[in-house]
Symmetry: C2
Subunit: 354 residues, 2 copies
């Protein structure tokens, strides 16, 4: 059980408790997903049962959904932080690690609990979340199928005269109407010169013949996210456009062939980077090869030249080489894949179009 | 100018500088909107020009868009926090206030800058943002028009047999295709017994004849958000349903008639609460009457019984009374309005349907 795994980690350290406040982390441990703006405090003592403090508006849903913990309501007019101080003291905790707290709250905790040591340790939970369970993989598979549907609908809408946000509208609608719980992140539709910016999001730009169009999106299913990018050219690609697209495709193919459990994440990155270098385009690859994906869109492991991560069976990661040339345009091709012992399994399956 | 107003505030305090990290706040001061996951540091010294530190992927867009500051790129391989420490030291700042920083970064700053006092003071910027400029009001007006379009499309899709998320799909598509930059928050479509939970979001539940359906959504335009709720009954409302809907409508109407600059926010809340009490339903009104809305979906001022806020000309707030009866269902009616000297102006105009 996930809470037991966390407790085992705490046992190997000095901490006698862990405070979870991030809604995705609370969901990970209890199965209860609150809205992202909710204030939740899940206290997990190393010895004893976990306690979830909720605001009144979340209480009923928490009682219904939250497993592995006692649920307590902090009534209107009572401050959550005061109740938290009381609970930590009554549990006798002396050394608490936590995922994330707003600093103003942190300072109140430190003031109210002078005898308690607090240490931020978000990595502890990130590490637990790296290897996905079979159930999590099923959710990621569904989220990936929804992304396939979305990217296909978006690319279907590409034609001269359409605006970037109209393409996004079609893509997002297709995901939503098939059951996505929202967008996994701000959808990127970056056309023409805007495609040279990896963080393009969407603008009102009108698409023209000859443009590169990058469509980068994801869906959410049972809280789990997917991440998928396709690049198309409006009309007939130029020779240079084809050359760049093929190089990015080859970089992705090579990386996908090498990725497996045990590979250093930075080696995966360098495989792709070397392919781009063979065409003289590595200096236009402005980001890392990929990242883990799960309840959050960016999680460990990180596939980049500076990463110390080693890939494990059950990691779900993106593989997304790209080339971005200022004034000319950009190409990115990305899939979400599951790392197995001897290779990868694609979770996204959209056509490459080019 | 907004940065000058911030500096004036700093001048009246001990602080000699302010660190802005929230992307919406950076946009407020510079006009540059980065993706929400970006790491940005805008340092505003009380004396001297502001400096914006960006990651490489944000740099070009920041140079193009960010006004009122010098933009500096923190290259790959260099840690943002190290550069931030260097900049704060080279500017000679001794007492820095800030909006929000992850605690792990905060602890590194404190460690690296032992001589500097740090103080969280998000309220300083919240207060600057309370009164909207004419330009901000225009953006809020557009965002509100998009919400009208969304709620109308969503309610158009209501019929027995449809699923909640399908209603959300139609509403979100209509907003997006008309130019919304995304959803202002997770769309709520709460039907039947689920309508009794104010934080309903969307489920896969199938809508039935006789259900209450709460549709609560918002759009984004130029970064500014809107917030709008309508409740409908599928088919013919029962007598009790009509009674509850009329009471909520009356509570909203009374509050809208009373709200004007100078009114205490808690009085606005009590006007609505008193109307609900007249029908014996005040105990089912589980939240405050409303909240400010702007770049964030929840901002000051807060319209609730515990609020110390006084309404000002140029505030944009929601007015959203509701009744939530466990096992029976719920009703909420909400509009986004602009506070004027002698009353309010509606920014949302969707029909009431009932």
């Amino acid at each position: 059980m996930r809470i037991e795994r966390l407790k085992n980690e705490l046992r190997e350290r000095e901490a006698d408790g862990y405070l979870v406040t991030n809604v995705n982390n609370v969901y990970y441990f209890t199965g209860f997903m609150d809205i992202s703006a909710a204030t939740l405090n899940l206290i997990i003592p190393q010895n004893g049962g976990a306690v979830l403090l909720t605001q009144p508006l979340s209480y009923k849903a928490a009682v219904e959904k939250a497993a592995n913990c006692a649920v307590k309501e902090v009534p209107f007019g009572e401050k959550m932080v005061d109740r938290l101080i009381w609970e930590v003291r009554s549990l006798g905790l002396k050394h608490l690690e936590f995922d994330s707290i707003p600093i103003a709250i942190f300072l109140k905790l430190v003031e109210g609990l002078g005898e308690v040591k607090f240490k931020p340790n978000q990595d502890l939970i990130w590490d637990l979340r790296r290897v996905k369970s079979n159930e999590e993989i099923e959710f990621l598979r569904k989220a990936s199928e929804l992304a396939d549907i979305g990217v296909e609908a978006g690319i279907e809408a590409v034609k001269p005269g359409v605006r970037e946000y109209e393409i996004a509208a079609e893509a997002e609608y297709a995901m939503r109407v098939h059951g996505s719980e929202g967008v996994a992140f701000e959808t990127i539709v970056a056309s023409g010169p805007r495609s040279a910016h990896p963080h393009g999001v969407c603008s009102r730009r009108v698409v023209h013949e000859g443009d590169f169009i990058i469509v980068d999106l994801g869906a959410i299913y049972s809280g789990y996210r997917s991440d998928l990018t396709r690049t198309v050219v409006v009309g007939r690609p130029s020779k240079r456009q084809s050359q760049i697209v093929n190089l990015v495709l080859e970089a992705q193919r090579e990386a996908l062939q090498r990725i497996r459990a045990g590979l250093k994440a930075k080696e995966a990155d360098s495989v792709a980077r070397d392919v781009l270098a063979s065409g003289g385009y590595d200096k236009y690859f402005l980001h890392g090869l990929g990242h883990g994906v799960g309840l959050d869109i960016h999680e460990p492991p990180t596939l980049s030249s500076g990463s110390d991560d080693v890939l494990e069976e059950g990691n779900v990661v993106t593989v997304e080489p790209g080339i971005y040339i200022d004034g000319f345009g950009g190409v990115r091709i990305e899939d979400t894949v599951l790392v197995h012992k001897y290779g990868v399994e694609r979770l996204t399956h959209a056509s490459y179009y080019l």
